[in-house]
């Protein structure tokens, strides 16, 4: 279980990294290596060149403005957990970060790598979807901005060109009075969740978003249920079941149960008096 042969470079800038990517068709970016590392070892990924962007200072920027927040792609889960970077999410992102895998993974894994890997079960995919985030993508001709739901085309398939990379994420800042709920049902600590839910209620800004995550398929938003919560309603189990049935009609009974269970827990946290 050792990787096949590859070349390795450590570019000095995003521009340099993009040039490296463009120069070698089999090149792949690596940052924390927490997903790519095992795939290399299992020889499921066989890049001819690894472009290590783990230390690029441009990817460590973060900002929590009054209206919009930004998190750089190279920021590790642990930096967010430890509140070492500006947080515009009223504590939601640090809370989520603490629930990702294990501390050893969080020390190295990056938020940009997590989203670029496009594993539907990834915690950041759910959390940033609930925050209404956009992805900032860099390419040689400049930057482009794409809403997160559109960024993930399918499992492990991001909307990234051959010589593009994720620079970071922007999302509308939450007010200090924002409330959130977050629940993961996993068979053991550190494992990807079988069902997950995130609820954000920011009454001062009139924002309410509810997102569900599961191992198969991207996170889904439940806008109808969110409207009901925003209107100061407490959804009943029937409301939850109806919202789930309409958003994800293909679920089997077990999946319905655990997703509604996770959602119930997250709602209870967010709406706790």
């Amino acid at each position: 279980m050792k990787p096949a042969r590859f070349d390795y470079v450590r570019p000095r800038s995003v521009e340099d990294a993009l040039a490296r990517l463009a120069s070698e068709p089999g090149a792949k970016l690596i940052a924390g290596g927490q997903s790519l590392g095992p795939m290399l070892n299992l020889r499921l990924a066989r890049p001819s060149l690894l472009v290590d962007i783990g230390g690029l200072p441009e990817l460590f920027q973060a900002d929590a403005g009054a209206d919009e927040s930004f998190v750089g792609a190279g920021i590790t889960h642990a930096m967010i957990e430890d509140r070492m970077v500006a947080d515009g999410s009223a504590g939601f992102m640090p809370h989520v970060a603490r629930t990702i895998a294990y501390r050893a993974v969080r020390n190295r894994g990056t938020i940009g790598g997590s989203i670029a890997h496009a594993d539907p079960a990834a915690d950041w995919l759910l959390a940033l979807t609930a925050l209404g985030a956009d992805v900032i993508v860099a390419r040689s001709t400049g930057e482009r901005r794409i809403a997160l739901p559109q960024f993930v085309i399918a499992a492990f398939t991001p909307a990234l060109g051959e010589s593009e990379m994720v620079l970071g994420f922007t999302f509308p800042s939450l007010s200090a009075g924002a409330r959130f709920g977050h629940a993961k049902l996993a068979r053991k600590l550190g494992k990807f969740a079988d069902a997950a839910a995130a609820v954000i209620v920011d009454r001062p800004r009139g924002v309410c978003r509810i997102a569900l995550g599961r191992p198969e398929g991207q996170p889904v938003l439940l806008p109808g249920l969110a409207d009901q919560v925003a209107a100061d309603g407490q959804p009943s189990p029937q409301d939850i079941a109806a919202a789930l049935a309409s958003a994800l009609p293909e679920l089997d009974a077990f999946e319905r149960r655990i997703l509604s269970g996770a959602l119930g827990r997250a709602l209870a946290q967010a709406l706790m008096p």
């Binding site: 049902l185 068979r187 053991k188 550190g190 077990f254 149960r257």
Partner: protein, 799 residues
């Protein structure tokens, strides 16, 4: 033990483990840590299909000298492990597949390079032409299937072994007022010690020896096996087990890779290493546990057992491992299923079935985790059938302490124990009445709580007869230990057992300290090297502390007697007049330290009589227990669970363990063994499963898919001890290595079934995955008054 002893370093003292220092500082010496000039690394090309005929194995052009197949290893005999039972079918396992492959992961070619990655590059270039055959993956179905293709054509069946014993079940079946029948399934598991298997072999020109470093529990057995399979004299083979990162039974058998590496070193007179990676471990190595039970209990109207009728099917995988064969599970299950319960009518029929999976290996607890599961769940079902509390029915069926020694209907002889006392102690820790009140007062939306108990027995320090009856290639005899006093009064203790997490470098030193009073820090326990230690069958089956511990005491006793003669001479008194205490010989007119006697014996022999110099201070002691039928530890696990129907999750609210392993040499180590075993048992109950698809492909090839319990999955465990010394061993010691891993699935499933009992819903297959738990919850909900029939889902999946 008296209170004084418990405060010192001897038996009963909570001495910190000496071996932990090097591990905590990252200075352990495992095979993967070793460095050697010219060392080459080995990767195995393994079969991608479960069953098939090998048409051709093609070596990459130019690499013919670095890639080896069965034909190259002609001098190596196949592994053939046999048991002297009439229905047994033996099989040849070749070091590299020969003619046929019988499981995914079976080694087919061996590739050698300067590094592991390069060796894996080579393995990718080997071409493999295999005609696939249908795979046998369901042992229960194959058991009754007379048609092939069979794994081993010459058998004409799928059966490795069938056994039957019957003490008269028919009579009971006719007359018993209560009859309860259940089926149970234990999932196939993987042992997952922290360190997987590893082998490093080289040729030592100085000694003219093949030296094989291997991560093993049984170095002397592996030495014998390597010599036999490679046609060498045993003096030409040295086997060393350096630091070994856990075994759990995986490392008590000969592995094909050990023979392959030995052949490389012998042939090329150079060093080679293979380090098993986790994917190899999961998919091709350490498979265990998979049993199917069909049990009928006969009882009176109070739940008193009248008889048990058990059909046991063991999914044994492809080959019989050496030396324990594929039959250990089935024969152990039949013999031990009655457990701590007193009933007379017993029928047990076993079928050990060959399947296209890795060979079954005896995992911590061996068959007893399965039989405890079957027996304890059945007892609870009997209790519910007669409308009584499971703990009461369980208690009334236990063998009474006064009835010991007791011969079970399976033929096992239990030595001593207070089984009801163990259950009572657990009942004193868990308030069953409080659980019943919570159940009665439950409001909608609240968790479903349940309480479960399981009793277990743990056969430790098996004697010669049990193994001889089974006709295994290896039968353990009396156990040796060699002790050597050094001229400065320190002690070297050499044992043929191997310590790979059991803390024997400490506990055996405590036993020597108990006899000689030498400071534990000055006692070195040497193990794991055939060149340095006396022959032993090794560490397995919870035998080492009893057997090797007894031998250390015997050797130290003899040494003490010789030293006493010298001490008496020096103190100018008779040997009977000196007394050894705390490292000092005391006589009528003075005293002398053991270390001073040692110094004089080695360096100033002129001060002693010439006769005294003829009695060496290097002594081998031998030990066997007074009874040859095994020393039985036992205990009770009690669990309270809370099931949340809203999320289909289960929480362990309370977990209590009571156990009796006789005299505890080091209570810290006993607790560690028990907690660790319980963690593995909880993994068995809730998490661990190696599934296979219909083609025999293993479906959990990384630890992302094969779930191991971690610290966060462990409930706080409250541990209590009975301590009834064995009358048959030195100091009353019994083994404790496996007990913790035996009853957790039984206790947890009984608690779940208790929580669901109002609807008569039961779970019966490990592990209790969220889907399986949800199915049970849904059945419970459907049985509630006013329940609406469940809405049919658009797309249901198989659990």
């Amino acid at each position: 033990m008296n209170a004084e002893a418990k405060t010192g370093q001897g038996i009963g003292a909570r001495v910190l483990r000496k071996e932990d220092a090097r591990h905590l500082h990252g200075r352990g010496r495992f095979i993967a840590d070793m460095k050697m000039a010219g060392l080459k690394e080995v990767a195995f090309l393994r079969s991608p299909v479960a069953h098939g005929l090998i048409r051709a194995v093609g070596k990459p052009a130019g690499a013919e000298g670095e890639v080896f197949t069965r034909a190259d290893l002609a001098r190596v005999k196949p592994i053939r492990s046999t048991i002297q039972l009439p229905t047994f079918n033996g099989s040849d396992q070749h070091p590299l597949a020969c003619g046929k492959v019988r499981f995914v992961g079976e080694p087919v070619a061996m590739c050698v390079a300067s590094g592991r990655a390069e060796a894996e590059d080579l393995a990718e270039q080997v071409t493999l032409d295999i005609d696939p055959l249908p795979a046998v993956v369901d042992a229960r179905a194959a058991r009754d299937d007379g048609a092939g293709p069979f794994l081993h054509d010459e058998w004409g069946s799928h059966l490795v072994l069938t056994t039957a014993l019957d003490t008269g079940i028919d009579e009971v079946a006719r007359t018993a007022p209560v009859k309860v029948t259940r089926s149970y399934h234990m999932a196939r598991q993987v042992m997952n010690p922290l360190e997987g298997k590893a082998v490093l072999a080289y040729w030592d020109d100085l000694k003219g020896q093949l030296v094989v470093y291997t991560s093993t529990q049984v170095p002397h057995m592996i030495r014998t096996a390597i010599a036999e399979h490679l046609g060498l004299d045993q003096r030409e083979v040295r086997v060393v087990a350096p630091d070994v990162g856990g075994g759990f039974g995986y490392k008590c058998v000969l592995q094909a890779e050990e023979l392959c590496l030995a052949w490389l070193a012998l042939t090329f007179r150079a060093p080679f290493r293979w380090t098993e990676d986790r994917r190899e471990h999961l998919t091709s190595g350490a498979n265990c546990r998979e049993h199917v039970y069909e049990v009928t209990a006969y009882a009176d109207t109070q739940g008193r057992l009248l008889g048990i009728d058990a059909d046991i099917t063991v999914d044994a995988g492809a080959y019989s491992v050496w030396p324990f064969t594929a039959c250990l599970e089935g024969t152990m299950a039949a013999r031990q299923l009655p457990g701590p319960y007193a009933f007379r009518a017993y029928r047990a029929r076993t079928w050990t079935v060959a399947t296209n999976k890795p060979s079954i290996v005896p995992y911590r607890g061996v068959a007893r985790t399965g039989i405890c599961f079957a027996m304890e769940l059945t007892l609870d079902a009997v209790a519910r059938a007669v409308g009584r509390e499971p703990w009461q029915v369980r208690r009334e069926n236990l063998i009474a302490a006064e009835a010991m020694p007791f011969t079970s209907p399976g033929g096992a002889v239990y030595d001593i124990g207070n089984y009801a006392g163990s259950l009572d102690m657990a009942l004193g820790e868990i308030d069953v009445g409080a659980v019943r009140r919570r159940q009665a007062a439950r409001q909608a939306g609240e968790p479903l709580v349940g309480v479960g108990f399981a009793n277990f027995i743990e056969m430790t320090a098996h004697g010669t007869r049990a193994f001889a009856l089974a006709g295994l290639p290896f039968v353990p005899g009396a156990e040796p230990a060699a002790v050597r006093l050094t001229p400065d009064g320190g002690l070297e203790v050499r044992v043929g057992v191997q310590s790979h997490g059991q803390g024997m470098e400490t506990s055996l030193a405590q036993i020597a300290h108990e006899v000689l009073g030498i400071d534990v820090a000055r006692i070195a326990v040497v193990h794991g090297d055939t060149e340095l230690t006396p022959f032993s069958t090794g560490t397995y089956a919870s035998r080492s502390i009893t057997m090797a511990g007894g031998a250390v005491a015997e050797a130290c006793d003899q040494l003490a007697r010789r030293l006493a003669k010298a001490a008496a001479h020096l103190l100018q008194c008779a040997p009977e007049q000196v007394e050894l205490s705390a490292g000092l010989f005391r006589g009528p007119s003075g005293d002398i330290a053991v270390s001073e006697v040692a110094r004089i014996w080695y360096l100033k022999p002129e001060l002693l009589t010439p006769q005294m110099s003829l009695e060496s201070l290097e002594v081998t002691g031998m030990f066997r227990p007074k009874t040859d039928t095994g020393q039985y530890s036992y205990g009770t696990h009690g669990v309270v669970v809370a099931i949340d129907p809203a999320t289909a999750t289960l929480a362990i609210e309370d977990y209590v363990i009571v156990e009796d392993c006789g005299t505890r040499v080091n209570p810290l180590i006993v607790e560690g063994q028990t907690y660790g075993g319980a963690a593995q048992g909880i993994g068995t109950a809730l998490l661990e499963e190696m599934p296979f698809d219909g083609a025999g492909q293993p479906l959990a090839s990384t630890l992302a898919d094969y779930l191991m319990p971690g610290a966060a999955e462990m409930p706080p465990i409250r541990l209590r001890h009975l301590e009834i010394p064995s009358p048959n061993t030195r100091f009353g010691i019994k083994g404790v290595g496996e007990g913790g891993a035996i009853p957790p699935p039984a206790a947890i499933f009984n608690a779940v079934n208790d929580a669901l009992a109002s609807a008569g819903v039961e779970v019966s297959a490990t592990p209790l995955t969220p889907r399986r738990l949800f199915a049970a919850i849904a059945a419970w909900e459907a049985a509630q008054p006013g329940a609406t029939p469940p809405v049919p889902a658009p797309r249901e999946r198989a659990p």
